[in-house]
C-alpha cells in the first residue's frame, strides 16, 4: 500500500469532533473492494484504528512534517 495513490480523499483536519470519525466511517461504507481511502487528520486517530481492526480494514499511517497525520485505508486482503 502506498500513501500516494488514493481513490478517495477525505481532508478532516479542520473538522470538530466527532465529525472526522463520522465522515471517515461514512466514506468507508462507500469504499469499493479494491479502493483506497486517504484520510488527513490533525492528530493520530487511535480510536479509529480499533474500529478498522474490528471491521476488516488494513491501514498505513504517515506523520507529516506539518503535523498532518495521513491514514491510507483499504479492505484487508482475505
Amino acid at each position: 500500500m502506498s500513501l500516494g495513490d488514493p481513490d478517495v480523499l477525505l481532508d478532516a483536519r479542520e473538522l470538530e469532533p466527532p465529525e472526522p470519525l463520522v465522515r471517515t466511517l461514512e466514506a468507508l461504507e462507500r469504499l469499493g473492494a479494491h479502493e483506497k481511502l486517504l484520510v488527513l487528520l490533525p492528530r493520530e486517530p487511535y480510536p479509529l484504528y480499533r474500529t478498522l481492526e474490528l471491521n476488516g480494514f488494513s491501514w498505513q499511517t504517515e506523520c507529516r512534517s506539518d503535523g498532518t497525520v495521513a491514514v491510507l485505508i483499504g479492505h484487508r486482503e482475505p
Binding site: 470538530e16 466511517l25 492528530r43 487511535y46 480510536p47 480499533r50 474490528l54
Partner: protein, 432 residues
C-alpha cells in the same frame, strides 16, 4: 449517516462516567459548607472550614474529573490502553471518594483516626491509578508531546499525595509536622494540575475550539521546563527557604502565566464564528490564572500584599474555582456528550442512528449553568474581601452552580438510558 461499521468503546462508558457524576457532589458540598458555616470559614486560609473547603475542590472535584478524564483519554490521545479499565475505575473511585469526604470531615472534626483513614484511602486510590496509568503509558512509545507530557504529569500527583499523607499524619499527631505545605500545594496545583492541563490542552484546545495548534517548541518543552523550575524552587524551599526560594518561585508561576497567555492568544485566532460555553470557561479560567500569577508575583515583590488576610483567599478562589473548576466543567460539556453519543452509536450496531451530540446536553442548559458558575465566582471573590456579608450568599451561589452542573449531567445519563431502551428495541425489531 448509514453507519454499517461497529466500533469498540474502550474503556466502557461506566468507567469514566462515575467520576464525572461524583465531581459536582464535592463542589456542591463546598458550597453547602460555606453556606452553613458562614464568615468564620474565611477568617484565614488555615481555618478548619477553609481547609475542608479547599480539599473538597482539590481532592474532591478536581481529582475526580482528572482521574476520570485520564482513564478515558489515555487510549484516545496516547494509544495507552489501561488493563481492566472497569476494575481500575471501581477501585480508584471506590477509594478516593470516601477518602476525600473523610479528609474534609477530619479537618472539620480535627479527628486523628479520620485523618489516618482518609490518608490511607486517598493514597491507595491514587496509588492504584498511578500504577495502572504508568504501566499503560510506559507500554507505548512516546511518539507525541502529549504522551511524553502525560508521563511527566504523573510524578507531580505522586509527590503531592505523598506530601499530603505526611501532612495528614502530622495533623493526626502520629508524625512530626513537616514544613511541607508550600511544596504540597505547589506540586499538586502546578506539578500535577497545570502540567496535566497544559498537556491535555495541546489536544483539546485546537480540537474543540478550532484554534491553530500550540507552537511546537511549547508542546515539546513546556511540561519539562515547568517541572524543572518547580524542582529547583522545591530544593531551595526545602534547604533554605527565604529570599532565594521566593525569587525562584517566580519562574514556575511565570510559566503558568505563559501557558495562560498563549492559550488566550490561540483562542483569539479560533475559526469559530461564536464562542461556545466551553470556550468561555477556558477563556475566563486563563484570565483567572493570569490574575492569580500576577498576585503571587506582586506579593513576592511587595511582601505586605501577601500578608493581607484576603490575599490567599483571593488567590485560592482564582486558581481553584476560577481556574481549574471552570476548565474542567467546560471540558465535561464536551466529553460527556461525546461518550454518550459514542456508546449509543455503537449500541445501534450500525443499523440505528444515535441522536446527535448537541441533543445529549442542550446549549441552553449549559449556558445557564455557565452564568451561575461565574456569578458564584464573582461572589466568592467579593466574599474573600467582605466575608461578613457575602460568605453565605457565595456559598449558596456555589451550591446552585454545582447543583446545576450535577443536574445537567444526570439529565444526560437519563437521555442515555432512554435512548438505550429505544435503540435496543429497534435493533431487536430489525433483527426479527
Amino acid at each position: 449517516m448509514r453507519a454499517l461499521l461497529s466500533f469498540d468503546q474502550a474503556p466502557p462508558l461506566a468507567a469514566p462516567l462515575r467520576f464525572f457524576l461524583t465531581a459536582p457532589l464535592f463542589s456542591a458540598l463546598a458550597g453547602l459548607l460555606l453556606l452553613l458555616a458562614g464568615p468564620q470559614v474565611l477568617v484565614s486560609r488555615w481555618t478548619p472550614g477553609a481547609l475542608a473547603l479547599t480539599h473538597l475542590i482539590t481532592a474532591g472535584f478536581m481529582l475526580q474529573v482528572m482521574l476520570g478524564a485520564l482513564i478515558q483519554i489515555l487510549p484516545v490521545v496516547a494509544g495507552a490502553n489501561l488493563k481492566h479499565p472497569l476494575l481500575v475505575a471501581s477501585l480508584v473511585h471506590g477509594t478516593i471518594t470516601p477518602g476525600a469526604l473523610l479528609l474534609c470531615a477530619a479537618f472539620l472534626l480535627s479527628d486523628r483516626l479520620t485523618f489516618e483513614v482518609a490518608a490511607l484511602l486517598l493514597a491507595a486510590g491514587v496509588g492504584v491509578f498511578l500504577l495502572a496509568a504508568g504501566c499503560a503509558l510506559y507500554a507505548v512509545p512516546t511518539t507525541s508531546p502529549t504522551s511524553r507530557g502525560l508521563r511527566l504529569a504523573l510524578p507531580g500527583l505522586a509527590i503531592s499525595v505523598a506530601l499530603g499523607v505526611l501532612l495528614a499524619g502530622a495533623r493526626a499527631g502520629s508524625l512530626p509536622l513537616p514544613q511541607a505545605t508550600p511544596l504540597h500545594v505547589a506540586w499538586g496545583l502546578i506539578g500535577w494540575g497545570v502540567v496535566l492541563l497544559a498537556v491535555v490542552a495541546l489536544v483539546v484546545v485546537p480540537m474543540f475550539q478550532m484554534t491553530p495548534p500550540y507552537p511546537e517548541s511549547f508542546a515539546r518543552f513546556f511540561p519539562l521546563a515547568l517541572l524543572g523550575m518547580l524542582a529547583v524552587w522545591s530544593l531551595a524551599e526545602s534547604l533554605s527557604g527565604g529570599a532565594l526560594a521566593t525569587a525562584l518561585s517566580a519562574f514556575p508561576v511565570g510559566g503558568v502565566a505563559v501557558f495562560a497567555a498563549l492559550t488566550l492568544d490561540l483562542q483569539q485566532r479560533s475559526q469559530r464564528a461564536r464562542m461556545d460555553a466551553t470556550q468561555h470557561y477556558w477563556r475566563w479560567a486563563m484570565i483567572c490564572a493570569l490574575a492569580a500569577s500576577a498576585l503571587v508575583l506582586a506579593a513576592n515583590v511587595v511582601p505586605t500584599i501577601g500578608e493581607r488576610r484576603e490575599w490567599p483567599l483571593i488567590c485560592g478562589t482564582l486558581v481553584l474555582f476560577g481556574g481549574f473548576v471552570a476548565v474542567m466543567t467546560g471540558m465535561l460539556y464536551k466529553i460527556v456528550p461525546f461518550l454518550i453519543w459514542l456508546n449509543l452509536q455503537n449500541l445501534g450496531q450500525g443499523r440505528i442512528l444515535a441522536p446527535t451530540m448537541n441533543r445529549v446536553i442542550t446549549a441552553k442548559s449549559v449556558n445557564q449553568q455557565t452564568i451561575a458558575h461565574f456569578a458564584a465566582l464573582a461572589l466568592l471573590l467579593a466574599a474573600s474581601v467582605s466575608p461578613e456579608w457575602l460568605a453565605r450568599p457565595a456559598g449558596l451561589a456555589v451550591l446552585v452552580a454545582s447543583g446545576w452542573l450535577m443536574l445537567t449531567l444526570l439529565r444526560a445519563t437519563g437521555f442515555h438510558r432512554q435512548h438505550v431502551r429505544r435503540i435496543q428495541a429497534l435493533v431487536a425489531n430489525s433483527a426479527a
